[in-house]
């Protein structure tokens, strides 16, 4: 039988190139849909044989959008591998810098990537870009550009570079926080906090009420009843940098809680020949294909589902509001990811402010050099996009022997594929596909904030989106091409 | 210089080359190399007609570079470079290709040898093409030598050099020259009196027209390089004018200040105004600033008004072409050997103190009396290797202790024939003309009791006797010896502070002795050219060795300063300032300290640079190149050698 194939590109991307391929049967019903990661650089391979203590500065290159997450996860793996518990000061400085990064990434994604979908006209691609946004929401965009400067400034004071930082050392950090640094950071953070609050208000006023967002938020197709995973501290509070990994089922019941070094007991990875990205799954469930009951999601929404509470006033108020609005925990509505991002950003600002008044951060003992090496280390942090795991083994020369990296986008890969099929099946009938449908498909993927979203986004910035749908027969011969260009 | 016009002259060397190498084929191949405009072969290129043919070709063919492919450059490089020059070509535009020693003589297979010869010559062509015409570097030489240290080493060197007609500045930190030797009574193995052989030389220094003597002085700064050093000398005030001082001694009598006399190693006292010993040079009293109370009594009594209490220190600047470091040694501090009770018991003394006891001019006029109570000494114990050959103190052997201890034992027996002498030793090291005989004589003729063993403790018992406890390592028995006096043969330590060493760029070894360039072949030279070392500062040695080394250093200086110019090979490193980033990597790599940072850029001292190229390979910016051996040339040579290999 001859299948029809719809291929969509570009799709907002994770680190690397991705495409969507949709298969139609004779009646033109969606038979299958795949979200493919088709680019690969093989870090796990070429990190082998490297000086293990250098990895935190090498693995940042896995992703330039969340390089801090990789830097710190790697750093924590190294701590364990050398058997060095970081000093209190070191841990606090690391967390401080990391909170800034959470805001960095969340703001970038929400404003630059997601927002245009909801406040601009879906039907007119010409308008739907930052140029258009500037016209419609100049204030927000100015705030956004300002926020870039602020987070960048904070990240720089710790890691030298805002992207691909140089900060962590085995058992600590490289640099102390000077008084001047402190003044800069706290000044910036205060301003940042007001910007984030404004954006959150704007969300509640304009976005939440917008036809499209409201519709999709409650739309069953844009919702998956899955497991959720995320870090929580001893008290079960939300934490990005350290703590226990907690897994809950789709009823919100805790099914597992464990320390980083136990992760292999709970997580395994499945491999599909048609994707360069793997499909991590819960061992307690097993790999049962792309079926929402059995898969697990991570990221902002997952974290808020998993955590008992948020340890900061305003943010926890906002969380309450979200739960009331959408229903009850756990929240399965994918669009709530965006809301969660804003709540987390607010929390990050609040927590930073608290930590800046903890005198520990000025102590001299920024590094612990004693400890017995185990030559095996796992480091887990909550990257902006979800749980990120780095696991290294080293030989007696401290050369990397095994490197295992599980990225949040990989964990969400199964969910993205599953939701994609759901959405496509509902929206697509035969070959009559248009820009609006296309974007509706993309919105589903985009709520997961795949890593390089910002990149494709800037096509919008240029006011020049080039989207195309090509329809092939099963032999790959092109039958039809629709592309949407402006100008 | 324009297009390369290279001439290649290939020598048959009779059958020596032509026998295995197909010279004509080589000529044919070499002619194909771009830049080669003339190739000629001849039976004996070094012969007169051979040389003429090169000269003719250079002129007729307007060659601007020449290769002679023949024997080893070590044989005929000079010959041919003179030939090339005589034809009006810069000699640095000439290279030799060694196709005899490196080719025809070591291979049998004609074809392969021919092939190799072609490659060797190609490389030479590639190099010469990049050679710049250079002129030798000339630098003026200041015909004057600075000598630091007025001991027997410094005195000997000073006299040798001065007698060769070269001016000398001799700097001594104490009020008189003479050094340690002046403190000795007799010298082994000949037992002639130290003063008697030394003082005439001291006097000679004093009156030598070519020697400027600066006592109570020290070198505080050194700049420049071989042939052109600028030296700053700090001269402390003597406050007594040597030219007026008549040595009447009135001043000494009236001076109220008494201090221990260092010349007698504290066995006697002196005044604040003093003369170290009667034959001191300069022959004059001096006031010891550290103790003088400025009461003015001396000035009042001085008949010649030689005393000026207000004399100030002054800084003297000298320009010299060479420097000799002869700062000598000191004794290892006995106080560090607590188990021997030195510094605790007056009757435990060091070897130099014993020299003073023996000396007719010493505190006891040559009688051996106990410092504690002045009683004559009957029983005496000498402890050798006091500090030397000891992991906790000095690792090395101080070399002279065996001999002077034997000497001490002998001189003691001569003065106290019925005395008992015990010597504790580890080994006897008596290598030297007449040395072994001397020690034997002491052991047998004078029945000195030599015990092979180490002393564990020295203390004074209730009767006031010194008790020495040791182990006889031959018999394994514990040994207890009672004595009136115990003499420690303390080891030698170098006497040159690191600061001055650094200023002089004199490297010090792990024990603080000055490091010579090569222990055998260049024993008196330092890695910093123009600086020489002699005497005990280079390592423990006795007087005769010191004198030999001093004369050697003098000879080197005379060689250096007898020319008006230093002529230096121009194939040296040069820095491209635009590329240099001042990373300092090259500095440590240079064995001659020829590179220094000037306004953040590396600068090569062209006199000091010997052109080894170590810095070229080290520079991360590739800012340094070796003249006529650039990276580019080396690369082209490699390509030439491997032509057709890929």
């Amino acid at each position: 039988m001859s299948l029809k194939v719809i291929e969509i590109k570009p799709v907002t991307r994770i680190e690397g190139e991705t495409r969507v391929i949709i298969f139609l049967d004779e009646e033109g019903k969606v038979k299958d849909a795949h979200y493919q990661v088709i680019e690969f650089r093989g870090f796990e391979a070429f990190c082998r044989g490297r000086h293990i203590e250098e990895l935190p500065r090498i693995v940042t290159a896995i992703c330039g959008v969340c390089s801090w997450a990789h830097h710190l996860a790697s750093g924590k793996a190294i701590d364990m591998l050398y058997g060095r518990k970081p000093t209190t000061t070191a841990n606090k400085l690391r967390e401080l810098s990391y909170l800034a990064h959470i805001i960095d990434s969340h703001m970038l994604h929400y404003i630059a990537l997601a927002l245009p979908d909801f406040i601009l006209d879906l039907k007119s691609p010409i308008e739907r870009n930052i140029a258009g946004m500037l016209r419609k929401e100049p204030k927000i965009i100015k705030l956004f550009l300002r926020s870039r400067k602020l987070v960048k400034g904070i990240e720089e004071t710790f890691g030298g570079k805002p992207i691909h930082p140089a900060f962590v050392l085995p058992g600590g950090v490289a640099r102390k926080l000077s008084k001047d640094d402190w003044n800069k950071v706290s000044k910036y953070n205060i301003e940042l906090m007001s910007i984030v609050s404004e954006i959150l208000d704007h969300f509640k006023r304009n976005v939440l009420r917008s036809k499209i967002f409201e519709k999709l938020l409650y739309d069953e197709t844009y919702s998956l009843k899955t497991y959720y995973m995320g870090l929580v501290d001893e008290k079960g509070n939300l934490n990005f940098y350290d703590g226990y990994l907690r897994i809950i089922d789709n009823k919100g019941r805790e099914v597992a809680k464990f320390k980083a070094d136990d992760y292999t007991k709970y997580i395994a990875e499945h491999f599909e020949e048609w994707s360069y990205s793997k499909f991590p799954y819960l061992k307690i469930v097993g790999w049962k294909g792309f079926n929402e009951e059995y898969i697990c999601r991570v990221g902002p929404l997952a974290r808020l589902n998993v955590a008992d509470s948020i340890p900061s006033e305003q943010a926890s108020e906002e969380l309450k509001l979200m739960i009331e609005t959408v229903g009850s925990k756990p929240i399965h509505n994918s669009l709530a990811y965006h809301w969660s991002r804003l709540i987390e950003s607010l929390h990050a600002c609040e927590k930073m402010q608290d930590m800046l008044h903890d005198e520990d951060i000025f102590k001299d003992d920024i590094i612990n050099t004693s400890g017995t090496p185990t030559y095996d280390g796992v480091g887990i942090v909550e990257a902006p996009r979800g749980t990120l795991i780095h696991h290294y083994k080293a030989n007696e020369e401290f050369l990397a022997e095994e490197v295992n990296i599980i990225t949040p986008t990989a964990i969400n890969n199964a969910a993205i594929n599953t939701e994609l099929k759901k959405v496509a099946s509902k929206l697509i009938r035969g070959e009559k596909v248009n820009e609006e449908i296309l974007n509706l498909v993309e919105i589903s993927i985009r709520s997961y904030d795949p890593c390089n979203a910002c990149a494709t986004h800037y096509i919008d910035f240029a006011g020049n989106r080039n989207l195309s749908i090509i329809i092939y027969d099963s032999n790959g011969k092109m039958l039809k091409k629709l592309s949407y260009k402006n100008r | 210089m324009g297009e390369p016009r290279i001439g290649v002259f290939i020598c048959h060397c009779g059958r020596n080359i032509a026998g295995t190498v197909d010279v004509e084929k080589v000529a044919k191949e070499v002619a194909k190399i771009p830049g080669v405009v003339h190739v000629e072969t001849y039976v004996y290129m070094c012969s007169d007609p051979g040389q003429k043919l090169i000269i003719k070709a250079i002129k007729d063919k307007k060659l601007n570079a020449v290769i002679v492919a023949a024997c080893s450059p070590s044989l005929h490089y000079e010959t041919f470079s003179r030939v090339v020059e005589s034809a009006g070509l810069n000699k640095y535009r000439f290279e030799m290709a060694n196709i005899r020693e490196h080719c025809s003589w070591v291979h049998l297979d004609r074809e392969k040898a021919t092939e190799k010869a072609i490659r060797i010559i190609s490389a030479a062509v590639a190099k010469v093409a990049g050679n710049k015409p250079l002129v030798p570097i000339k630098a003026k030489v200041v015909r004057k030598c600075l000598i630091i240290g007025g001991g027997i080493a410094g005195i000997t060197a000073a006299l040798d050099i001065a007698n060769a007609g070269i001016p000398v500045v001799l700097v001594e930190k104490s009020p008189t020259i003479g050094g340690k030797m002046a403190m000795l009574s007799e010298t082994f193995p000949t037992l002639d009196c130290a003063q008697c052989i030394l003082t005439p030389k001291m006097a000679e220094v004093a009156r030598h027209p070519n020697i400027k003597l600066l006592t109570l002085s020290e070198v505080i700064d050194v700049e420049g390089y071989v042939g052109n050093f600028k030296v700053k000398i700090l001269k402390h005030p003597r406050k007594v004018n040597p030219d007026l001082c008549r040595l009447c001694g009135l001043c000494e009598k009236v001076c109220p200040v008494k201090v221990p006399n260092e010349f007698d190693r504290g066995l006697s006292v002196r005044k604040a105004i003093y003369i170290p010993f009667p034959q001191a040079v300069p022959s004059s009293y001096a006031i010891d600033e550290r103790y003088c109370k400025k009461c003015g009594a001396c000035a009042k009594v001085c008949p010649t008004k030689a005393i000026n209490l207000d004399e100030k220190e002054e800084i003297i600047e000298e320009e010299v072409g060479a420097i000799i470091v002869a700062t000598g040694y000191d004794l290892y501090p006995g106080t560090k050997l607590s188990e021997y009770g030195y510094g605790v018991y007056e009757d435990v003394i060091d070897s130099l103190q014993f020299e003073r006891l023996l000396s007719a001019g010493g505190p006891t006029k040559g009688q051996i009396l106990r410092p504690s109570d002045g009683k004559p000494v009957k029983r005496i114990v000498f402890i050798q290797c006091a500090g030397s050959r000891d992991e906790n103190h000095l690792r090395y052997c101080s070399k002279i202790c065996c001999m002077y201890t034997a000497k001490h034992a002998l001189l003691f027996k001569e003065r106290v024939p019925d005395g008992d002498v015990t010597v504790f030793y580890i080994d006897i090291r008596a290598a030297g003309k007449g040395y072994e005989e001397f020690v034997k004589r002491v052991q047998e003729e004078f029945q000195v009791n030599y015990i092979r063993g180490k002393v564990s403790k020295v203390y004074r018992d209730v009767n006031g006797d010194m008790v020495v406890i040791g182990v006889d390592t031959l018999s394994g028995q514990k040994i207890i010896v009672k004595a009136d006096l115990v003499v420690l043969a303390l080891g030698m330590v170098p006497q040159l502070d690191r600061e001055l060493a650094a200023k002089l760029k004199v490297p010090l070894d792990e024990n603080g002795f000055a490091q010579e360039v090569h222990p055998k072949l260049r024993p008196v030279e330092c890695s910093s050219s123009g600086v020489f070392i002699c005497g005990a500062i280079q390592g423990p040695k006795d007087i005769s060795e010191t004198v030999v080394q001093a004369s050697a250093a003098a000879a080197k200086v005379i060689e250096l300063l007898s020319k008006d110019y230093i002529v230096h090979e121009p194939m040296i490193a040069e820095v491209d300032e635009n590329l240099c980033n001042g990373c300092r990597i090259c500095i440590a790599v240079c064995p001659y300290g020829a590179i220094e940072m000037v306004e953040g850029k590396a600068k090569v001292n062209e006199i000091l640079c010997e052109g080894c190229g170590a810095c070229v390979a080290a520079c991360p910016a590739r800012a340094i190149q070796l003249r006529n051996y650039t990276d580019e040339q080396l690369l082209n040579m490699i390509k030439a050698v491997l032509r057709g290999a890929t």
């Binding site: 390089s67 048609w274 | 440590a588």
Partner: protein, 327 residues
């Protein structure tokens, strides 16, 4: 008033850091984007390459990332033939960057490694059910753009520092007025990190490495030359222009700004420099054995000296020739 000068921003294998670096210059970017007609700024797959094929020529092509897949390569070739001005943006495009460390590991090996990690051992991979799902094959090597085409402008840095980006934008604006930059212009200092290193000592005396100490063996002191602490720092051979950001953060330079103008191979040159100053004052004392032990502490010279430039090293040429021969 928009010009019709066409600009395309094209990816190889990237991490996205380069993009964020552009976003971070905010207003400047907006300005430049106003000046150009961005015809393309997205990922490289056939559908998109078609768009590039449609245009007859591209005025400015900015390439980010390294060339790992056949599609990356195809795109690089495409801009080569169509672009008036080619910019290699970021260390990956200029020298291979971090992913370049994988250039010698052949794809099979990479895939095997990936499938045999601690968490994916023993997994039965699902098949590619449809032809259309075949994923584009990896190339045998991971190369910078510079191996495919000689760019007009190189912008090194991981990611490029704001200073360079602003310079780039100036040059691009000038280019619109017909002012073409010299071929192969590198937007970084010609001087090394050392030239104005904040740790440069007052007294410019000799520099000796007291040994090799890895970052888990010493606590790096601030304000003291890393090499003098025995910590390998690529500052002496790396271009300045990043405002010494890592060094100021008390981390040694790892060379992302690329080699100095005269240096054609970072590793070979810097091995020579490091070896030259290592324990130079103790050579005779500790002898060959001692020196070997000290040097052996550099357990991964390749990773240390070629962190960003492996694909452009001379040794790679040899290695690849040999690999071809073996096939």
């Amino acid at each position: 008033m928009k010009s019709h000068a066409k600009m395309a921003i094209i990816y190889g294998a990237i991490c996205g850091g380069c993009d964020v670096s552009l976003v971070n210059v905010g207003e400047h970017l907006a300005d430049i984007l106003e000046k150009f007609n961005i015809i393309y700024w997205s990922i490289a797959v056939d559908g998109k390459t078609k768009i590039l094929r449609d245009v007859s020529e591209i005025d400015v092509a900015i390439f980010m990332g390294s060339i790992r897949t056949e599609e990356n390569l195809e795109l690089a070739k495409l801009i080569k033939e169509k672009s008036k001005l080619i910019v290699a943006y970021g260390s990956c495009a200029c020298y291979g960057g971090i992913p370049g460390l994988g250039t010698l590991i052949n794809p099979r090996k990479i895939m095997e490694t990936m499938k045999s990690t601690i968490t994916s051992k023993g997994d039965k991979p699902g098949r590619a059910i449809y032809d259309r799902l075949r994923i584009p094959p990896l190339l045998n090597t991971c190369n910078p753009l510079t191996k495919v085409v000689e760019p007009d402008i190189l912008v090194p840095g991981c990611p490029p520092p704001p200073k360079s980006i602003e310079r780039l934008f100036e040059i691009l604006s000038k280019f619109l007025n017909g002012e073409k930059p010299p071929k192969g212009l590198v937007l970084a200092e010609t001087k090394s990190q050392c030239d104005e290193c904040p740790r440069k000592p007052k007294d410019m005396t000799k520099l000796v490495m007291p040994g090799v100490f890895r970052l888990h063996e010493v606590v790096p002191q601030e304000d003291k030359c890393f090499l003098e602490q025995g910590i390998i720092c690529l500052g002496p051979i790396t271009r300045a222009g990043c405002d010494h950001c890592c060094i100021k953060a008390n981390m040694p330079c790892i060379g992302c700004m690329g080699p100095l103008p005269e240096v054609d191979d970072v590793g070979l040159k810097f091995i020579s420099s490091i070896a030259s100053i290592l324990l130079t004052d103790k050579e005779k004392e500790i002898g060959e054995q001692g020196l070997m032990e000290a040097l052996n502490k550099i357990a991964d010279p390749q990773g240390i000296f070629y962190k960003y430039t492996l694909p452009v090293s001379h040794l790679i040429e040899i290695a690849l020739k040999r690999r071809r021969r073996e096939k």
